[in-house]
Amino acid sequence: MEVFAQTIVSGLLLGAVLGLIAVGLTLIFGVVDIVNFAHGEFLMVGMYIAFFAWRLWGVDPLFSIPLAALGVGILGVISYLTFVRHAMRGTLLSQIFVTFGLLIFLRGLAQALFSSNFRGVQGSILGDVGLSVGGVSVPGPQLAAAVGSLIATSAIGWFVWRTRMGKALMATSQDREAAAMLGINPHRMFALAWFIGGIATGVAAALIVSYQPVHPNSGIAYGLPAFMIVALGGFGSIGGALAAAFLVGLIENIAGFYLPTEYKELWIFVLFLIVVIARPQGLLGRR
């Protein structure tokens, strides 16, 4: 029973972080109609930013959240302005490969600049903190990451559903042309989507870097599930992405415990295929 509770807790902790990453991804897709295959690499960039803030200036990752967020947000905008903008007008192939190119580019850059070594933050503020409730242990960094992710996700939700600019963003994702007819500049909205998608990822990066080592390929572990989550939740659906993220977090932990551990990631892909084939618009998708 305790063990089961432990897997549930771990699943929820993971789900919260995946949720933030996936919300960024789904927001970009919803507005811009492009899957950012480099999303995991955005995360990796954010992790490097937070890592070096700690390494060079001794700033705890918790305090470099704004820096990582801004850094990855700007990376998103630059990606949009330089290449994505042009590929949007192209074929599906262009739309897919522009961000694949970005993925390769960012990984190569990280490898060239920082080598393939694993680097980790040591002695972060939350390092030794942890809760233990009735036999269920909750490590501090993971808890902080989950709570921080939920706060950030809520902030994004507040922005897109409650502010004028956010509503304009949602309007653009639902009907680009009708939005333009009201004076909403689509290009500005596209850049904004990349900015917010980047911010979400940057926040997540700074949160997880206290317990996850960073290396040029460190984005895959989160990026790959994020694609599945976004498709599971229905491309462009923020609520769907969040729900699917918790589902994936739970399944990975529960399956990892009750079924052979080495296959724990397998079930996510299997679940994804089953759901998407039975319901191509995703769990909560409406397209």
Binding site: E177, A180, I184
Partner: protein, 231 residues
Amino acid sequence: MLRVSDLSVDYSGAVALSEASLEVNDGEVVGVIGNNGAGKTTLLKAISGTVARRGEIEMDNKVISGLPAHEIPAHGIGHVPEGRRLFPYLSVEDNLALGAYSQTQAHSDDFERVYALFPRLKERRRQQAGTLSGGEQQMAAIARALMLRPKLLMLDEPSLGLAPVIVDQIYNTIAQLGKSGFTILLAEQNVAECLEVSSRAYVLQTGSIIRSGPSQELQKSDAIRQAFLGI
């Protein structure tokens, strides 16, 4: 107010609008009639900049034909597109609020004004726009464009797909708007209704304006009656 000269549009080679010229004066309700595929939608979209176009469009003596779509509303043109095109997952109220996006600030009395015109919308303001009935959606689409305080309101087939009773309601509203001094450009396949509310009209056929004149005259014309009214 609006002057369009030699406006042309083609879709990857196929001509959809060919050198159309028209004019809309202050306070007029002007109709554009034509069969399905005649180019009515294309004409309105060319004016609002949502398709690539050639030719010149002037609004209050300013040339706007070079502007991208999102800069057109600031010149006072509100476009109610074919098929309503509400933001289906936003509330009615949010849809209306976005109508005022090009205004520097949303005026709270604008809400009251459009709610007075369409009381139904006030009841439904918290509902997702996609869950409204067809007639309600058409009202919301018109209301959204009105929030922009347009000098010129362009309506694209507001009666499309609606039950006759609802069509009457919508047309009553349009007539009412016209009487209260709004300038309206109305594209319709529903020729009878359109000629009823408009003072002048243009006839579009396969992308060209083939005729124009006072609506009353067009109503009487045998050619028009045969072509559009089935008489």
